[in-house]
């Protein structure tokens, strides 16, 4: 299946939850913010959400700004 990750199509070969998917992207999970289909997903929910085909994920972090 395919999901849209930060505006780019990404393939997901096997069923996995959101936490597993994020981990596979080698992210520091402590410092990121995740939105799934434009709804903010709390960290404690990441393991309970199974990714679905055509899901739209936004993975964000804080950067320097004025």
């Amino acid at each position: 299946m395919e999901v849209v990750l930060n505006g780019t199509v990404a393939n997901v070969d096997q069923e996995m939850n959101l936490w597993e998917f994020l981990l596979s992207k080698e992210l520091n999970l402590e410092t990121i913010i995740v939105e799934l289909n434009e709804v903010i997903v709390k960290k404690q929910e990441w393991k309970t959400i199974i990714l679905q085909d055509k899901d739209r994920l936004e993975v964000l972090k804080f950067v320097g700004g004025g």
Partner: protein, 263 residues
């Protein structure tokens, strides 16, 4: 009496707010904070670039700092509201700098959209600090809809051009009961000092420090300038006059007494 700036539920000793953008390395930030004395710091929220992963700016901001995430990148009210909610969900607290910009040349803020965002977010319990053009009517409406302060620009963002909008800033300071924080365009410590002398509640700046040859030293200079300007405002500036007015007495001159004795 201790002079404090109260915004939301926070009392601040320092009236200098600083940004975290444009530094050659985020590792400079702790020293910039220390030297500036600032207690409020802005950050931005962005998509992670999976092709070139970089660090997280939050790793360099000491706890105890008041975080002020901005909504930069938002082109309308809806996008700004979305970013604000994300920042809050990320544990950034409830302060938010509203920045709604659709003009990419001068980066001037959209007052109409900014008012809409402020109303929604203030209603949700955010402490809303909107970045605006120094427009009295926009500022008045922001007061009505629950802003915690207004942040008019001195000159376009990142331009280091100083207080080009000085006359309009003075009107806002005079007419708006909320703290007026001069944001954007401040290039020199003397600009910040002047804004504070005029009665601004605080200054927010980023580029002027980040683009200095020695950012840590410039941070210290800005901290001193803002504090000096504030003290001058509290002390009350003396009147300016067209003609000279001697500071020393105009009587008892030595030459006049010598002249009188000679006669």
């Amino acid at each position: 009496m201790v002079d404090q700036l109260v915004i939301g539920d926070r009392s601040l000793q320092s009236r200098l707010f600083i940004g975290t953008g444009k530094y050659s390395a985020d590792t400079l930030i702790p020293e910039i904070i220390k030297k500036s004395g600032s207690e409020v710091i802005t950050v931005a929220l962005r998509r992670i670039d999976f092709n070139s992963p970089t660090g997280n700016v939050m790793d360099h901001i000491p706890s105890g700092m008041q975080l002020l995430p901005n909504t930069s990148g938002a082109r309308n009210a809806q996008e700004a509201i979305r970013i604000a909610r994300l920042a809050k969900a990320a544990g950034c607290g409830n302060w938010i700098k509203i920045e709604v910009i659709s003009d990419n040349k001068y980066l001037l803020p959209d007052g109409y959209e900014t008012i809409k965002v402020t109303e929604v977010l203030a209603g949700e319990g955010f402490v809303v600090l909107p970045y605006i053009s120094p427009d009295l009517m926009v500022a008045k409406q922001l007061v009505e809809v629950g802003a915690a302060a207004v942040m008019p620009l001195g000159a376009p963002i990142g331009s280091n051009r100083g207080l080009k909008t000085k006359e309009l800033l003075k009107i806002l300071i005079e007419e708006i009961a909320l703290p007026v924080i001069v944001d954007a365009g401040i290039g020199k410590p003397s600009d910040a000092c002047e804004a504070m002398e005029m009665g601004a509640a605080a200054c927010l700046l980023n580029t002027a420090i980040a683009s200095a040859n020695q950012p840590e030293l410039m941070a210290e200079a800005f901290g001193m300038a803002v504090a000096a300007g504030r003290k001058a405002y509290l002390a009350g500036l003396g009147r300016s006059e067209k003609y000279a007015s001697s500071s020393s007495p105009l009587t008892g001159f030595l030459h006049s007494s010598i002249a009188e004795e000679t006669i």
